[in-house]
Symmetry: C2
Subunit: 398 residues, 2 copies
């Protein structure tokens, strides 16, 4: 057995922390919400009876209807995943050349779909509070080749949609919102996915709301939805007519059945995450150098993520050191989003990707850390994480 | 009640046929093969226990291993569907500009993925017997911008792979096989998916072998597979590095679990379809104007489809008339492939799309009809279809 007294004080301190805080089981940054298997099996029985596995089956139709009602929108088109939905959203609006202004602080899918549509991304810096595309940075990036703006509602916090729309209207640009994080979010009692020309949701397993993999385009008109639906099914407008080079973006019945059951529990899931978010906020508010987000007035949040910003100078430890150290305690956080899309080798040489143009995003990506958050996470675990954050800070001051 | 004697002889004849041949239940061109629900639910229990829904989970890993063994290949990369697999296959080989020589007699996915990779399709005519890209037509279509050849093993009949490879080698072109129809097919005891630089399979619900939706790329080297695996997961080569604008092409655990169970019954499914194919062949061989395919020496076929060619002059009825008439009898066939990809508005203006350049494909697409074929199809139904084909022909001669 290891004797504590022989080690340096540093080791003693850490051993003491490990003894007090190390979790018996690993806690991951997220955990998929799953319906009871029995209920899912009942849905499967229907699929087995009907023998219709994909291509707009009955669960697909029902899921589109119930999602539209739940999200308070008219036109939902389901997809196999959110990336293919984003890909088709651009194609639906014929945005297939030139430049699109977007944020570097997002998952690579947002930028990659531009490549697939022959578009050059133009990166715009972000707001230091909501981490979203900063509308103040957009106008000086607009040139003769600009076609559209693709903002992202990062961590579900709504973009400044009025400011963005005003710019889009002034310059005649389309706006497609990457709403991958924004399931169910409302602003001034209006669903955020009604903003812009199209919005795109993701239902990936790691998301608040999931259909295993999955995604959707929210259209504003019936004609838009029809075009999207054609394009996600190879461009077929009927059995013998193809209106353009579509793709296979179809969600299958197994995903739709899963998504339908997820709808039954989503309110409960959000309520649980909200309670845990409160625990995090109370627990971390007093820890110097740990920045947390607050609720935005007028916004119905979905509490999909709990991000913090680690200010190394004040906290006494870098985000990367903290991330690595937490693993020792069986706490698995996520550097999300890190690196910036503008830092990936395929985009780093673009003029707009230079660090000098993106000072806020460059700082946030070095400081951001998403902490574990999901409905069944124990409050005691959240308190332990908060306790550790305070202990680490105190330890660095000794 | 309708009295027969008041109608014209034409109507009498048809009423008589309807009385004798009309099926009580509709018979579709295909019917998905599904594992027992109980077995599938057992697999789901594991997914529920592990809570890992996608992103290279344990069923995904097992399915890749078992598929590789079953197909007698080394490197399998699973995809959410065959179209995205084809899209990534081109990207993996950096075929992303210029021209690709391909067949117009295929599902639109084959041509559409060229668009997504910025490639101009160049259509080459097909062989009148195997319906595949005719190697004799390739060379005169090769120009300075040609990058690759994408043949399709139509209805699972192997392309003339040696002739195609010889041309590819002479001109320094890549070859990607669309093997969507060719699951398990072997030629001279070698899996057909080992031909070319990459081969792409589809596991769509309507295919012989299915994982609900799904597909795979068969790579020839470990380096190829690694690149494909990066690209189907957004280009991530590790948690913090993106090597290129990849996409979300991931197969989820629900698909992989389904595919694994489908592997257990695929041999039986092929054996059943083979028996039914024999019944079709015997029943239709004597009917003038109905062209059928024979087994090719040295080929282990998979009997995925039963296509016929309707020669209107000889048979006395056009393919379209026959297709429509069969519906009256509750027999739902498929004009597959019709129209040609070269006839879709998005490709029809290409020089290579002109009908004069594609005489065989233009004829075959007007004559082709795929008849119902799946493992649980009753032999009596096949005999009824054959009987009807003969009756219709006889009727047209009266």
């Amino acid at each position: 057995m290891k004797t504590r007294n022989t080690g340096p004080p540093e080791t003693d301190w850490m051993n003491d922390l490990l003894r007090r805080y190390r979790l018996a089981e690993p806690v991951w940054v997220t955990r998929p919400t799953m319906p009871p298997l029995e209920k899912y099996t009942e849905q499967l029985q229907t699929i087995w009876d009907v023998r219709w596995l994909t291509n707009n089956g009955q669960f697909h139709q029902e899921f589109e209807r119930r999602l539209a009602a739940h999200l308070d929108v008219e036109y939902v088109s389901l997809f196999c995943n959110g990336t293919i939905a984003l890909l088709v959203a651009l194609q639906a609006l014929r945005i297939n050349e030139g430049e699109v202004i977007t944020t570097p602080f997002t998952f690579p899918a947002t930028t990659h779909v531009l490549h697939w549509n022959r578009i050059r991304p133009v990166f715009c810096d972000i707001d230091p509070v909501d981490f979203n595309l900063d509308p103040n940075g957009i106008e000086r990036l607009i040139g003769p080749d600009t076609k559209a703006i693709i903002p992202v509602h990062v961590f579900g916090t709504p973009c400044k949609i009025d400011a963005i729309q005003a710019i889009a209207d002034r310059y005649g640009l389309e706006v497609i919102y990457d709403a991958a994080h924004a399931f169910g979010v409302r602003h001034n009692n209006r669903p955020i996915v009604r903003a812009g020309d199209l919005s795109v949701l993701s239902f990936h397993a790691t998301k608040l709301f999931s259909s295993i993999e999955g995604g959707a385009i929210i259209s504003r008109t019936a004609a838009q939805k029809q075009r999207v639906d054609f394009l996600k099914n190879f461009g077929f407008s009927d059995e013998e007519t193809v209106i353009g080079p579509g793709i296979n973006g179809k969600m299958n019945e197994f995903q739709a059945a899963f998504g339908l059951l997820s709808l039954d529990t989503i309110d409960e899931e959000i309520a649980s995450r909200r309670r845990l978010t409160d625990v995090y906020r109370k627990g971390l508010r007093g820890v110097p150098g740990v920045g947390i987000q607050s609720d935005v007035p007028g916004v119905l949040h979905n509490y999909g993520y709990f991000p913090v910003l680690i200010d190394q100078e004040v906290y006494g430890m870098s985000r990367d050191e903290l991330y690595t150290l937490l693993k020792e305690f069986n706490i698995f956080t996520r550097k999300y989003f890190y690196p910036l899309c503008s830092q990936f080798s395929c985009y780093a040489t673009l003029p707009s990707a230079s660090a000098a143009n993106l000072p806020v995003a460059e700082r946030v990506t070095k400081q951001i850390l998403c902490l574990p958050l999901y409905g069944t996470l124990k409050e005691a675990t959240v308190q332990a994480v908060c306790g550790l954050f305070a202990e680490f800070h105190a330890g660095t001051r000794r």
